[in-house]
């Protein structure tokens, strides 16, 4: 195998991406936990933890720049480098969504929650975490079929999101619950976006393997 050093650099870059993915999953699990516990301290931890995720993203961005400048990757190598950069951005955005969930949960900590809705949101969050796990694993295994399975899982999250939104709307006339409901509708939206980001990562897996980029689903339909 020629270009041994280059291959080492590619391997290290991919390892950093997986590391970033593990950090994001920790943040996501924390964000899902606080929905039920309303633990303000844990909210602060989730918010502060985002610096770790961002640091990995900046590290990957710098390494990609260096690899492009020094190694001129082409073909599969080029697609891998581009996909890693995209995936890292998607993971960074998932990290940001976790921060938003934690901040909203903090703001709603003093308000009375609706437990059935909290259950729905927690279910969405757990599905989203499962999706991120599958997105990372299928990228690592270059498993396009598994990456494609994210579309169905995303549909489940979307469905729950619509259900939560409808339930929040029914709370509009119930005094004392509007603020909590308004905040939770944004939380639901954040989790729904995490599902979308996981699908985005799946699309990058297909791009690396097939050489052609296609969105798995057309959001305009």
């Amino acid at each position: 195998m020629a270009r041994v050093e280059f291959q080492h650099s590619l391997d290290a870059l991919e390892a950093t991406l997986q590391e970033q993915g593990e950090l994001v999953l920790r943040a996501l699990r924390g964000a899902v936990d606080v929905l039920g516990s309303q633990d303000v301290e844990l909210c602060d931890e989730v918010i502060a933890f985002d610096d770790e995720v961002d640091a990995r993203y900046h590290g990957i961005e710098k390494s990609v720049g260096e690899l492009l400048a020094q190694q001129s990757p082409v073909a599969t190598d080029l697609r891998l480098v581009l996909a890693i950069l995209h995936d890292s951005i998607h993971l960074e955005r998932i990290g940001d969504q976790c921060v938003t969930i934690a901040k909203l949960t903090k703001l709603a900590a003093e308000l009375e929650p609706r437990h059935d809705l909290v259950e729905g949101l927690t279910e969405m969050g757990e599905r989203a975490a499962e999706m991120v796990r599958i997105a990372l694993d299928s990228f690592s295994a270059r498993d396009v079929e598994r990456a494609h399975s994210l579309v169905e899982l995303d549909e489940l999250i979307d469905r729950t999101n619509r259900r939560v939104s409808d339930q929040v709307l029914t709370m509009a006339n119930t005094p004392g619950t509007q603020e909590w409901g308004m905040r939770m509708i944004v939380v639901a939206r954040c989790i729904e976006r995490i599902g979308d980001n996981a699908v985005d990562i799946g699309e990058q897996t297909a791009f690396v393997v097939t050489g052609e980029f296609h969105e798995f689903t057309d959001a305009s339909h």
Partner: protein, 294 residues
Amino acid sequence: MGGNTRDGLTNVTAPHIDNSKLGALGSAAAADGRGSSTIFDVSGLSVSYKGNLALKDVDLEIKKNFVTAFIGPSGCGKSTFIRCFNRMNDLIPGATVDGSVLYHGKDLYGSDVDPVEVRRLIGMVFQKPNPFPKSIYENVAFGPKVLGMKDALDERIERALQSAALWDEVKDRLKENALGLSGGQQQRLCIARAIAVEPDVILMDEPASALDPISTSRIEDLIHELKQDYTIVIVTHNMQQAARVADMTAFFSVELREDGSGRHGILVEYDQTTKIFTNPSDKRTEDYVTGRFG
């Protein structure tokens, strides 16, 4: 045309040649007219030197006003192939060319074709700049004078030097010896010399491999400018150079004969340069362009 025996040769994998893509690119480039018609149509081309097969069974089309790059490892036959386009192999004793090369639909190797006229229409620039030990002016004037293109010679020379992006650097010292120019300037002088006889095609065999990076960039910029007026075929060892300058890229490789009688070059893949360098169809191309060979 001479023939050669193919006894004992193995069947090779058919090269990946996506003519539909080529056509799409041609029509996509219709705004500036490049790539809309075929200059060379090569089919079943094989070349042997004294009975030893060097290049086997190449089919390929070169489009007008495109830059077409040939890449591949040493011994893959890319230089042999480019020399078929202006019958330079005729000058090598024992060389035989089998198959056909149509130039604007006409057999380039037909008995009624004058090789000297072929080489006027299809100029060539070599790896090592090879100016004559004469003045800058005489280097460019040589071809037109030999071919009787003597009208408005000064204007012709100025135009050729301008096209080769050399005029501003040499206009005040046209009578000086060309060997006093830098390597990069000498190579651009050779390009001016090729242009001066109003060719249709310019063949370049490793035109920048002996030059420093700045001179290389100037040659590459020049190739981008020249493709508006000429069809350019370039052999290069520098894959990034092919990626930078070429519309189409052909990857050649070496194939060992199963009977152990030797090795010869084959065309593995021919496609848009962007395709070759982002998503090649053949694993051999992938391994070569990513450096995962050997």
